[in-house]
């Protein structure tokens, strides 16, 4: 089990230009503390690459590659097999991509890389929109969210489609290891990253990264919002390994989604009817979760 006092003091991601309170700083720092200096990190176009690699200030102390938007999965393959061909074995190949760069434009490359079974860790940090370019919706934007290209207006309540389920997409690939995580649950995340070190092949972690700027909450509430997402059932922490799904946190009672939604400016326009819609969707997702992953445990 990870203990903070045993973690290295070295900061592998430092001095970056992310918004105050942004989860990506926590995610990048902690992932690299677990993986160590012999890590190559590939960053597609995203908040992460933009805030860390502006010549000449480089905020990663490990080698990094800023990558074309669509190709993270493929470049991870290239690095992984290149290292193998050169006989270099003790290097972590890490991809840190956003929700757009993973679930939208990057999905094909990710699918190909996972299908090929190459050795890498892919962390999708999900701030639920194309935040870097000004908060445009992605396929991981939740229902009802106000984004700059799915704005709420007199004729619309914002984003109409639910989040694509990347966790299940990875399970469908029968990936060696997949997990969901949250920057609000840092120890859970670090344990998962630690676990990937011992597994050969592709590993995928989908980590929720609350965004003060895009979601509309004060910069000190990042963890509170992240926890509310899990406590209201709008996000879950789970792992897939050896053909089985394990839920890491199952709230005893799932609180109403309204408690999560109303704390963020991007949802403040929602009417009672909209919220009911979102609640129904969340309930339906949890029915599926219970049927497939939880009920068997109780037999």
């Amino acid at each position: 089990m990870i203990k903070a006092k045993n973690l290295t003091d070295i900061e592998y991601l430092y001095g970056h230009k992310a918004c105050p309170g942004c989860g990506l700083g926590t995610i990048g720092r902690l992932a690299l503390k677990i993986l160590g200096a012999r890590t190559i990190v590939a960053l597609p176009a995203s908040c992460m690459s933009t805030v860390t690699t502006q010549y000449p200030q480089m905020n990663y102390t490990v080698p990094s590659l800023t990558m074309a938007f669509a190709g993270t999965g493929a470049v991870l393959t290239g690095m992984s097999v290149g290292l193998k061909a050169l006989g270099i074995t003790d290097v972590n190949v890490l991809g840190l991509a956003g929700d757009g760069g993973t679930a939208d434009i990057g999905l094909q490359a990710l699918s190909g890389a996972v299908e090929r079974g190459d050795d890498f860790i892919y962390i999708c940090y999900d701030n639920e929109a194309y935040m870097n370019t000004g908060v445009q919706r992605s396929s991981l934007t939740p229902i009802g969210a106000n984004t700059t290209n799915s704005p709420s207006g007199t004729a619309s309540y914002g984003e109409k489609k639910p989040k694509k389920n990347l966790f299940e997409i990875m399970i469908a690939h029968r990936i060696p290891y997949a997990a969901t995580a949250s920057s609000a649950y840092p120890y859970d995340f670090m344990n998962k990253v630690e676990k990937t070190k011992g597994i050969k092949g592709p590993k995928f972690i989908h980590i929720m990264c609350p965004c003060p700027t895009g979601w509309g909450f004060a910069s000190d509430l990042t963890v509170e919002i992240g926890k509310l997402a899990v406590e209201t059932g709008m996000w879950y922490l789970a792992e897939y390994e050896n053909g089985k799904v394990k839920m890491n946190v199952i709230p005893k009672t799932i609180r109403p989604v309204e408690e999560y939604l109303m704390k963020q400016r991007r949802f403040r326009h929602l009417t009672a009817e909209n919220i009911k819609l979102i609640q129904e969707h969340t309930d339906s997702e949890w029915r599926l979760i219970r049927e497939r992953w939880l009920l068997p445990l109780t037999r």
Binding site: A37, R38, I40, A42, S49, T50, T52, T53, Q54, Y55, M58, Y60, T61, V62, P63, S64, L65, T66, M67, A68, A70, G71, G73, A74, V75, L76, T77, G78, M79, S80, V81, G82, L83, K84, A85, L86, I88, V91, Q108, A109, S111, G112, E115, R116
Partner: protein, 399 residues
């Protein structure tokens, strides 16, 4: 000419196979290729080599051409020698990555089977695909036959990986005409190739003792300087191409002339400029016409980028008219090669007349008769006849 070759062997193979043998001899460490007609035989032959333990490399089943270039780049980034191949739609699909790889200075070698771009659909050969990638910062060479294809793959790595260059190289074969035509090709001995092309020791790769961030953002204040650096590398390539050609010739006995090869241009009044397989056909026409006392010549444009500006300027005082064969067309203007030839000539003292012949689109044959007709029209032009600047050869009807 010093031929230091040990035992090479002759084989009856097509252009794609020649490329596969060439790639095999270069000992790439990562091959990431996605199949597309008419490059598929390259993909298959390389896979067979790997499956039979004849190549020691990682063979990656990428799921698209864009990913093929991404994977090749990732491999080069960690210091591995990477190879890929594509054609037409695939080349277009990886367009973004072509810019990316050249801008980040990764010495990747790629074979391209020249095939027209949809729409309309057609799998046969013209040069629209690679010429549309003119500005991506890749060195581009166009081969005439299977032997040159094999040889240029090897030379491409020597060129790309040269310290003064570090620019990726695209080796172009005409689709079907080169790729699928069987010829006798001399396959060099592996030891000779090893001597010519040592293992890749990248100067632009990850080093944990000196960690760097790659493909970084260069703001407005610095971007131009990085581009200037790329241009300087291309200028250096002009010299290195000649050096590599000579070194290759010394080792294997085949010299190709570097950027450009002139065929019987001495005393020629008119010349044709061509790239790729059309050069082979044109040689025969030149010989025939010369036998009849007609003073024609042929310029084999081997490297499209870097463009041999200096050569064309020097040609301006020696010929009266130049016909440029373009197996492509930049709609709204003219063929890409003709444009570049004409712009090289525009600042010379004497400017020869130029006719741009659009021919060989989507696999349409450029016959010996077509080529002779082109020379006739060039003569008509210098005699004061009326010739349009842009002419479609073999078009069914004009408007």
């Amino acid at each position: 000419m010093v031929n230091k070759s040990r035992s090479s062997r002759l084989d009856f193979i097509n252009g794609d196979e020649a490329v596969a043998y060439g790639a095999k001899l270069c000992r790439p460490q990562v091959i990431a290729v996605y199949p597309i007609t008419p490059q598929t035989i390259v993909v298959e032959r390389l896979a067979e080599f790997v499956a039979n333990g004849l190549m020691n490399c990682e063979y990656v089943y990428v799921e698209s051409e864009h990913s093929a270039m991404c994977a090749a780049m990732g491999a080069s980034l960690v210091g591995a020698r990477a190879f890929t191949a594509t054609s037409s739609q695939g080349l277009a699909y990886m367009h973004e990555m072509l810019h990316y790889v050249s801008g980040s200075r990764f010495p990747i070698v790629m074979m391209n089977a020249n095939r027209t771009l949809a729409a309309p659909w057609n799998i046969f050969g013209d040069q629209r695909d690679s010429l549309a990638q003119r500005d991506t910062g890749w060195i581009q060479v166009y081969v005439e036959n299977g032997q040159e294809a094999l040889d240029m793959i090897i030379q491409a790595y020597a060129l790309a990986e040269n310290d003064r260059v570090y620019t990726p190289v695209m080796v172009n074969l005409d689709g079907f005409v080169n790729t699928h035509t069987f010829e006798l090709v001399e396959i060099p001995d592996q030891h000779d190739v090893d001597e010519f092309l040592p293992p890749f020791r990248s100067k632009n790769a990850i080093d944990f003792t000196n960690p760097r961030s790659f493909c970084i953002t260069a703001a407005t204040e610095w971007n131009t300087e990085f581009r200037y650096q790329q241009q300087e590398a291309m200028n250096n390539a002009k010299k290195v191409i000649g050096e590599v050609d000579k070194k290759f010739g010394d080792q294997f006995g085949r010299y190709y002339g570097g950027l450009v090869e002139e065929y019987r241009c001495a005393g020629a009044e008119v010349v044709l400029v061509g790239m790729g397989s059309v050069v082979g056909t044109s040689r025969i026409v030149v010989d025939r016409l010369r036998d009849l006392g007609v003073e024609v010549g042929l310029v084999k444009l081997r490297f499209y980028r870097p463009f041999p500006v200096e050569y064309f300027k020097s040609l301006s005082t020696r010929v009266k008219a130049i016909g440029v064969i373009d197996r492509d067309l930049s709609f709204g203007y003219e063929g890409a090669v003709a444009s570049d030839v004409k712009s090289a000539l525009c600042s010379t003292e004497v400017v020869p007349k130029v006719i741009n012949f659009i021919a060989g689109i989507a696999g349409r044959d450029i016959t010996k008769e077509n080529i002779e007709e082109m020379y006739n029209r060039l003569f008509n032009l210098i005699k004061g006849g009326d010739e349009k600047e842009l002419q479609f050869i073999g078009l069914r009807w004009e408007s």
